[in-house]
Symmetry: C2
Subunit: 266 residues, 2 copies
């Protein structure tokens, strides 16, 4: 007979309450990797080989590999095959629960890390992004000054951190805060100095979300990989800005590479 028998019994799995096929494949590959069958730096089989190995379509294989990619286990490279990523332990970031100040400006402990700008910082102005609105206590669509910094590892040249400052435009526009060079000591010196907004208060937030398209491009991440968001908010206690949140600084890093560490005391 020429009619192909439909052996594609999709539901032989869900009937038994088992996983979808692509999850099975992902699980099998995941185990093979963690068991050591594919050590870090090696390549997993090509897609058409996996296709035969698991007896399913390329789409299913790709979905499984995509899952491992968002988990940070493998990184596919065109023509180069799909490589098992090195799994270094997460690099610790110390939590900024204190701020120090000397005659040169303010220092948060995190700033001590050895990063250098990979691109020149940019300053733009535009509507406040939705996720920043609650941080600044603004209304949706309110204009903000946006200061962007792309920081990288001086050794490898890789981008490892994106830092963006948002400042309410009604406060910052027209001031030195909206200029690329904010002078010695940075914006906090300007706020507590010339602008008379000090003393300043700060509060920190940590959360995570999938990387945006722009973030995954800059940080060389697969789409959907989580980024760790470490946010520091600055509150003015005097002057024209009294009681206002005058800055929200959001730094983002590959969540599979970094963790925030902090001591617990009695």
């Amino acid at each position: 007979m020429d009619l192909p028998s439909i052996d594609n019994d999709v539901m032989a799995r869900t009937e038994g309450g088992l996983m979808a096929r692509w999850q099975e494949v992902a699980q099998a590959l995941r185990e093979a990797i963690t068991e050591g069958s594919y050590p870090p730096g090696s390549k997993i089989p090509k897609e058409d080989e996996l296709e035969q190995q698991f007896a399913c379509s390329r789409t299913t294989i790709r979905r499984a590999v995509a899952q491992l990619t968002t988990e940070g286990l493998v990184s596919p490279v065109r023509k180069g095959g799909t490589t098992v990523r090195e799994q270094p332990e997460r690099q610790p970031l110390t939590l900024d629960t204190r701020v120090y100040r000397d005659e040169l400006g303010y220092y948060f402990s995190q700033a001590v890390q050895d990063l250098r700008p990979v691109q020149p910082p940019t300053v733009t102005q535009g509507p406040c992004p939705l996720d920043v609105v609650p941080l600044l206590g603004l209304q949706s669509g309110d204009p903000v000054v946006i200061r962007d910094r792309v920081m990288g590892d001086p050794e490898t040249g890789h981008v490892v951190q994106l830092a963006t400052s948002y400042l309410p435009a009604d406060l910052a526009a027209g001031t030195v805060l909206a200029e690329p060079d904010t002078g010695p000591g940075g914006i906090y010196d300007r706020m507590e100095g010339e602008l008379g907004w000090g003393p300043l208060d700060w509060e920190g937030f940590i959360t995570a979300r999938p990387a945006t398209v722009e973030e995954s491009r800059l940080l060389s991440l697969a789409p959907g990989v989580p980024v760790l968001c470490i946010t520091r908010v600055t509150i003015a206690t005097a002057g024209r800005a009294e009681g206002r949140i005058v800055e929200a600084n959001v730094t983002r890093r590959d969540a599979s590479r970094f963790e925030v560490r902090y001591p617990i005391t009695r």
Copy 2:
């Protein structure tokens, strides 16, 4: 001529350096949602409608919607359509930088939150999971005692937190630490008391990763949604366990619903 013209000019996009089609669709839907065209609680069009609307295949539509799902913007329900999720602000979790103790035991500030067990806690034993190995300072495959708790919101009954304690089996097996009921005050009282491991030290870690299959099932998350991992590690300073890490407590929550908040002092 009967040969259909191939208008599927896939690369009219990548040529110009633009996004893939599914990213365009995702972006369009994302904007429509955040602009208010599809308010929270409403449904976005069905897949076949979107298919026509964007003039592309269902696969492409589904990939775009899948992206919005991992971003937490929408949640598809079979037969019910795809609903725009309510976007409450992230609920703050206070950071446990201090531990308190009274005659009843140890309290970390996070424990103050009003959660109740949704399932009875379980205690099992098995090989140490790979991601926990570095936390405990063990070798791959070393046995650990695993204490699992599934905590939920007493109001809604929803599961909001998974907490798992890992204890090296060479220290914990056979002790009260491996029993379901660890008695008044909990495991830390046993460690500093009968076992003579105290005084204890603690350290905290925060990171994020995609939810595992099990986690997404329990927490009702879409596959790949990031979970916030808040880990507390216990170090013994005396007794048989001196210098050892005697417990790693990993709590996981939906990263789109929660954030860790902490004060910054001068």
